[in-house]
């Protein structure tokens, strides 16, 4: 049977902030979006206190003071670096993997022959926490959708100990489906949730048992695939996914190893275009971007390298020109010659709707829309992807923004590395 695992970092941004600032472990932690606008991540304690996802800072100020909540500006240099470490550990453990977002990774465990998969997941989980300092949860299922659902339950249940395997415990699948609200099923957005609940479908179990014809009529083939996945039939292979959420990623394993800088450059630029197109298609904008390139962890004897870097946008954007320019700068900064590169990817982070995050005082509120991006998208939709592309990436503007509680770049800047006391 197909076996997928979803490994998800627990409260990833807050866990990163706590890694080098142990004092934050004793306080609830929230992380704010670009320009210190809204809450984009919370520690468990902050969740319990009722800090809502997306809440603007001014609305939670009272809670922050009352409960001594630590407020952090988003530090994508730190999160990107730690994410790359987590993904490296995971990628080297499984036959194949797909980085789904900055803090989520699908593993294909089909060809993994181990006596106890649950035990293997526990060891993987412990190793990831030990090596990178980041706690993760692992959900295992016969489809990606069920793996994602198992992960959510693994995180919620104290008994599970962070691991839930539905492949070797098929009897648990029904209970898991009953416990999961339909809105928490992977790929079911807010609009579908409302529609399904209006028709009396509240749980994943009810959704999985809805008649095919009805689902197809109401939700198209995408919805039908989700239902089939809930029933245990694989519709999404690795690197094939329904919808992005807070982050979106375009990454590929190259057919053969690439050494040439210009070739990796071209690949990376096309990924930038692709992710930019993805967020534009969803009508969204991104606050930051991360680039990674790495060698094949299974190439015997070849020198191994994994590089990554990130950049934050002054103003959230979906413009290919801005995104490519940022990716190009990261690429030139991190590039190292002499390795056989096998995989690269571009992740867009801090994704939201345009206008979500407050602009800084001197900001142009709206990006000047010269219509070029929509023209390119239209041409590509009509004549095929990549028909119209940008030439050279252009220079970018100012990158300064409001980040009042920015933690140091503990792992990416020499002047910022943590101090350990010898007293």
């Amino acid at each position: 049977m197909a076996t997928f695992a979803l490994v998800d970092c627990n409260n990833f941004y807050a866990s990163c902030e706590r890694l080098f600032q142990p004092r934050l472990r004793e306080r609830p932690v929230v992380v704010l979006s670009n320009n210190d606008g809204c809450v984009i991540a919370r520690s468990n304690e902050a969740k319990v206190l009722g800090v809502a996802m997306g809440a603007p800072m001014f609305k939670i100020r009272k809670l922050v003071e009352e409960h001594d909540i630590a407020v952090c500006s988003s530090n994508y240099a730190l999160y990107g670096d730690i994410s790359e470490r987590v993904m490296t550990v995971l990628g080297a453990s499984a036959p194949s993997h797909e980085i789904y977002s900055i803090d989520e990774c699908f593993l294909d465990l089909d060809r993994l022959a181990v006596p106890s998969l649950t035990e293997w997941c526990r060891v993987l989980r412990e190793r990831t926490r030990r090596w990178t300092g980041i706690p993760v949860s692992v959900g295992v299922g016969p489809t990606k959708t069920l793996a994602k659902l198992a992960n959510r339950l693994a995180k919620k249940s104290a008994k599970a100990g962070g691991v839930l395997d539905l492949v070797h415990h098929p009897a648990w699948i029904e209970a898991a489906l009953r416990k999961t609200p339909v809105g928490d099923v992977w790929g079911v957005g807010r609009r579908w949730t409302v529609m399904l609940e209006e028709r009396g479908i509240h749980t994943a179990h009810e959704f999985a048992n809805a008649p095919d014809g009805w689902v197809r009529q109401r939700m198209g083939v995408v919805g039908l695939r989700t239902v089939h996945e809930l029933r245990g039939f694989v519709c999404h292979a690795l690197e094939d996914q329904p919808s992005p959420k807070q982050t979106t990623c375009c990454s590929r394993t190259f057919g053969a190893a690439i050494r040439e800088k210009s070739q990796v450059h071209d690949a990376v630029m096309s990924f930038s275009e692709r992710v930019a197109e993805k967020v534009r298609h969803a009508g969204q904008v991104a606050g930051a971007v991360q680039l990674f390139i790495r060698t094949d962890p299974f190439a015997q004897g070849a020198p191994q390298k994994s590089l990554s870097g990130s950049a934050t946008f002054h103003r959230p954007t979906s413009d290919t020109r801005e995104i490519s320019a940022a990716v190009l700068r990261i690429f030139d900064r991190i590039w190292r010659a002499g390795y056989d590169w096998r995989k690269a990817g571009v992740l867009l982070l801090d994704i939201g709707m345009p206008g979500d995050s407050p602009a800084s005082l001197f900001d142009r509120i709206e990006a000047p829309d010269d219509g070029l991006m929509s023209a390119i998208d239209q041409i590509n939709a009509r004549y095929g992807r990549g028909t119209a592309r940008l030439g050279l990436a252009q220079k970018d503007g100012e990158w300064r923004m409001r980040r009042e509680n920015l933690s140091p770049s503990f792992t990416t800047r020499w002047t910022d590395i943590p101090s350990a006391r010898l007293t």
Partner: protein, 139 residues
């Protein structure tokens, strides 16, 4: 928790074929030499390796001085006599991990500083120090 002296759990890796690009190997391949890379020399597990700056004098006799750059490998399970980064009262601190008659200690290596007995649950070992780097010329 001080249960970390146990053998590190082994992660079982599956055997599966990786694709090897076909073609006649060049006889010169064996003789290609790259530049010496300090990263390769100092870092065995890049994903688990972090840099930390030492601040203070308590490890002077171990050869760690104020301002030294420490290389930490979190992939190593701490054992007695390792120099470690520990979390003590919310701070990262550098000490030698000792076990004397069943009692764990964080020991300073400088007569002016005390050795601290630690309980099972009041101290977390953050990572093991593998290397310290000191610059001798500031220019």
């Amino acid at each position: 928790m001080l249960s970390f002296v146990d053998c590190p759990p082994k992660l079982e890796l599956p055997l599966f074929g990786t694709q090897v690009p076909a073609g006649f190997p060049s006889p010169a391949d064996d003789h290609i030499e790259g530049k010496l890379d300090l990263n390769e020399h100092l870092i065995r597990r890049p994903a688990a390796t972090f840099f930390v700056r030492a601040a203070g004098e308590s490890m002077r006799d171990a050869g760690i001085f104020d301002g030294d750059l420490l290389v930490i490998d979190r992939g190593i399970s701490p054992q007695p006599d390792d120099i470690v980064i520990a979390i003590l009262h919310g701070d990262l601190t550098v000490k030698r991990l000792k076990k004397v008659a069943g009692q764990w200690h964080l020991a300073a290596e400088n007569m002016d500083y005390p050795s601290l007995p630690i309980g099972e649950n009041d101290c977390e070992i953050w990572g093991v120090v593998t290397t310290s780097i000191r610059r001798h010329c500031g220019r």
